[in-house]
């Protein structure tokens, strides 16, 4: 087992507890863990190969922590990403505001990154429609405006989850220019100092 070759870097962004980790968990391990909420610390990386037509594309998924504490660090996680899944909780309007923040951030710093807007916890809405705080059409309009694709998923039931990641891989595969470097497929050396960046890095 030598270094995993990653074709496309995918980053999960969104407010804390919207269910980014659950989404990855559902997609990668096909399960939904019930239990007390555990926040992600820093970020977690998983590589997942996915069959697209005849080819196998390996997604390198960065599941980032939603906590504001890591905001200044977030750039190291989304730099060079080919796709960003920006999540919001369908039952929490403040999480949608946060999603707008991430979209703006990506538009400013990572113009080649394709954005997928993802409303999570759709199973809750199916149980009780009054819980919905983000109108489907409002989110769709926002997605159109920023040129993003829009999904509503449930990690609990698995609804739309595979479709989302499959679309990510497919889009990557269809993109004309193959942007790949070296072993890892992610250019870690690339330095852009436009965006804000933590002052506390220890050299």
């Amino acid at each position: 087992m030598s270094a995993i070759r990653v074709d496309a870097k995918v980053v999960m962004l969104g407010k804390e507890s919207v269910g980014k980790t659950s989404l990855v968990e559902r997609y990668v391990h096909h399960r939904f863990l019930v239990g007390p909420y555990q926040n992600t610390i820093g970020a977690a990386f998983v590589a997942k190969p996915i069959q697209v037509g005849e080819k196998v594309v390996t997604l390198g998924i960065w599941d980032t922590a939603g906590s504001e504490r890591y905001e200044a660090m977030s750039r190291i996680y989304y730099r060079g990403a080919r796709a960003a899944i920006v999540c919001y909780d369908l039952t929490d309007s403040s999480s949608f505001q946060r999603a707008r923040f991430w979209v703006k951030e990506l538009q400013n710093c990572e113009e080649h990154c394709k954005i997928y807007l993802c409303g999570t916890k759709s199973d809750l809405i199916e149980g009780d429609r009054s819980l919905r705080q983000i109108d489907y059409h409002d989110a769709q309009d926002f997605a159109d405006e920023i040129g993003a694709l829009h999904f509503e998923t449930s990690s609990k039931t698995g609804n739309n989850v595979d479709e989302l990641f499959h679309k990510v891989a497919e889009d990557y595969n269809n993109t004309a220019f193959q942007y790949m470097t070296e072993e890892t497929g992610v250019d870690l050396g690339q330095k852009k100092d436009s965006c804000f960046y933590s002052c506390c890095h220890n050299n």
């Binding site: 977690a44 922590a65 504490r69 506390c200």
Partner: protein, 524 residues
């Protein structure tokens, strides 16, 4: 901070820490295992892994330093200056302060049912963290919102005493101890009904302080409060409360935190050597520390030459890994500040379990935040080497019985013990015998050890040894320049028996030392 690390390294080079070869022969000749630092059972042979903090004294001595620092800090804004911080101590005056405090509690009663309940009050130990503006940051029990007035009162007490160029250390009243630790820009307050001394409580608050610094760095903390004095720090700490909760739980339970030491997974030295050298071989330029943990046991630690890890930092890493399941899936990559190493900056830690269901967790601490894939490869290399040399299976077998029974020592009256080698900063202890396995009994035994510890390390009247006869057990504690030993005997034993048991135990530990301790720590 850098200076501190160097200072520690220097004292080590002066020979206070590591035994030279000469000592190794002495070790074999000595009839009773050495009482001298560096020759005691479990002392490392080559060099120590940790910053040689002799621990408790160092820690509290540092409190003094920090206190003076803090004092200097608070004086910045004041016209007059005075250098001596006079301890404000209890007596009758403080009782009225205590009453103030009670009123504070009653204030909050109306707002939040929770914190006014008898159950809330009767917790053994409360911990509060607040900003210098009096804003709540953390409470162990209840919600911060409900306690904002209580914390306001706490801050008022601190400021009131500070206004007279004094520093409030503690209030003793009504069976409670209220201990204050001012670490600008934070203030930490502990309220305890236990028999722990102020010094011990202070030390626990210090751990909590370092826990917060490890998440944010002191630089960032200072920066935030300089910009906005009444900033609500909970925004940045969101999601980390369970780390602090867990650390407090560990402080009550984990002998390692009491002894300022770490315990190792008992492992055949041949296996450990293979594991260590495999880890050593899987190096990268940016790596500073490679740490392999199995639950709460250290398996091995490889460090960069001349860089030492402090046991507090290691305990913070233990706590981070132990409190979170988030590293179970995939590979974690997180900024972490090791406050005893450097409070100013973040390291970046690659944290992953060797297998999803395994207890073996590898932590690679790097200075380069771009180095994730490089470190991920280091882990793969380590794993490959480990299985190639058949050490992985041996390691997994050792994990099945991570502890040993006290019966192996062969002293019938001996129920349990804690033994710490001072020069290596490692301790060993058997599993708890049946009588102490219930949660209550475990806590009681740890409480007894805490008592012994605080008596041995009393600020003004330190002791070398104690023998204590109790109703349910007899206890003995002994501290030399080389080790600290705490023993628990059945209540039927005698003092003479206990003394002879100590010799027998030390010999046993000497015999087993290469299994119980890491004798030859490696560097890259």
């Amino acid at each position: 901070m850098d200076g501190e690390v160097h200072r520690a390294a220097a004292s080590w080079e002066n020979g206070t820490l590591a035994p030279v070869d000469r000592l190794r022969t002495e070790r074999a000749d000595s009839p009773t295992p050495g009482l001298v630092e560096g020759t005691e059972p479990g002392a490392g042979q080559k060099s120590a892994m940790f910053v040689h903090a002799q621990s408790f004294e160092d820690l509290t001595a540092e409190t003094e330093e920090a206190r003076k620092e803090a004092e200097g800090y608070s004086e910045l804004g004041k016209p007059a200056d005075s250098t001596d911080g006079i301890e404000v101590l209890m007596g009758k005056d403080t009782i009225s302060e205590k009453q103030n405090k009670k009123e504070g509690w009653q204030d909050s009663k109306s707002k939040e049912e929770d914190v006014s309940s008898e159950a809330w009050r009767s917790h053994r130990k409360h911990v509060f963290v607040l900003s210098e503006a009096g804003k709540p940051i953390y409470t162990r029990y209840g919600t911060e919102e409900a306690l904002s007035s209580t914390m306001g009162v706490m801050m008022a007490l601190v400021s009131f005493v500070e206004a007279d160029k004094n520093i409030i250390r503690s209030i003793h009243a009504d069976g409670y101890k209220v201990v204050f630790l001012s670490k600008s820009p934070l203030v930490l307050v502990g309220v305890s009904r236990t028999s722990q001394s102020d010094k011990e409580l202070m030390r626990e608050l210090q751990y909590i302080y370092y826990q917060i610094v490890s998440l944010l760095t002191l630089t960032q903390l200072n920066h935030i409060f300089q910009h906005k004095q009444n900033y609500d720090l909970r925004r940045l700490l969101a999601g980390s409360e369970h780390l602090t909760d867990n650390l407090l739980h560990r402080l009550d339970r984990d002998p390692g935190l009491l002894l300022s030491a770490v315990t190792c997974l008992p492992l055949a030295s041949s296996t450990r050597d293979v594991v260590s050298s495999s880890l050593q071989a899987a190096k990268a330029k940016s790596l500073v520390f490679s740490i392999l943990l199995a639950g709460d046991y250290l398996v091995t630690l490889v460090r960069k030459k001349d860089q030492f890890l402090h046991h507090i930092d290691l305990h913070l890493v233990f706590n981070l890994v132990g409190s979170s399941s988030s590293f179970r899936e995939g590979e974690g990559w997180t900024p972490i500040c090791l406050p005893k190493f450097n409070t100013a900056g973040f390291f970046h830690a690659h944290i992953s379990y060797l297998e999803p269901a395994s207890d073996l967790c590898l932590i690679l601490v790097s200075t380069d935040r771009e180095d994730f894939f490089n470190l991920s490869e280091c882990k793969q290399r380590f794993l490959e080497r480990l299985s190639k040399r058949n050490a992985y299976q041996a390691l997994k077998d050792a994990l099945k019985s991570p502890s040993y029974s006290v019966a192996q020592v062969g002293i019938p009256e001996l129920r349990h013990f804690l033994y710490k080698s001072k020069s290596s900063g490692l301790y060993t202890s058997p599993e708890l015998p049946v009588v102490y396995q219930s949660e209550e009994e475990e806590e009681r035994l740890m409480g007894l050890y805490h008592d012994l510890h605080s008596r041995l390390h009393h600020a003004t009247r330190p002791l070398r040894s104690i023998y204590h006869c109790g109703e349910t057990e007899n206890l003995m504690a002994w501290v030399t320049s080389g080790f600290e030993l705490y023993l628990c005997f059945s209540p039927l034993g005698t003092k003479a028996l206990a003394v002879s048991a100590v010799n027998k135990l030390l010999k046993w530990i000497r015999k087993e030392e290469d299994r119980l301790f890491i004798l030859s720590p490696l560097t890259y």
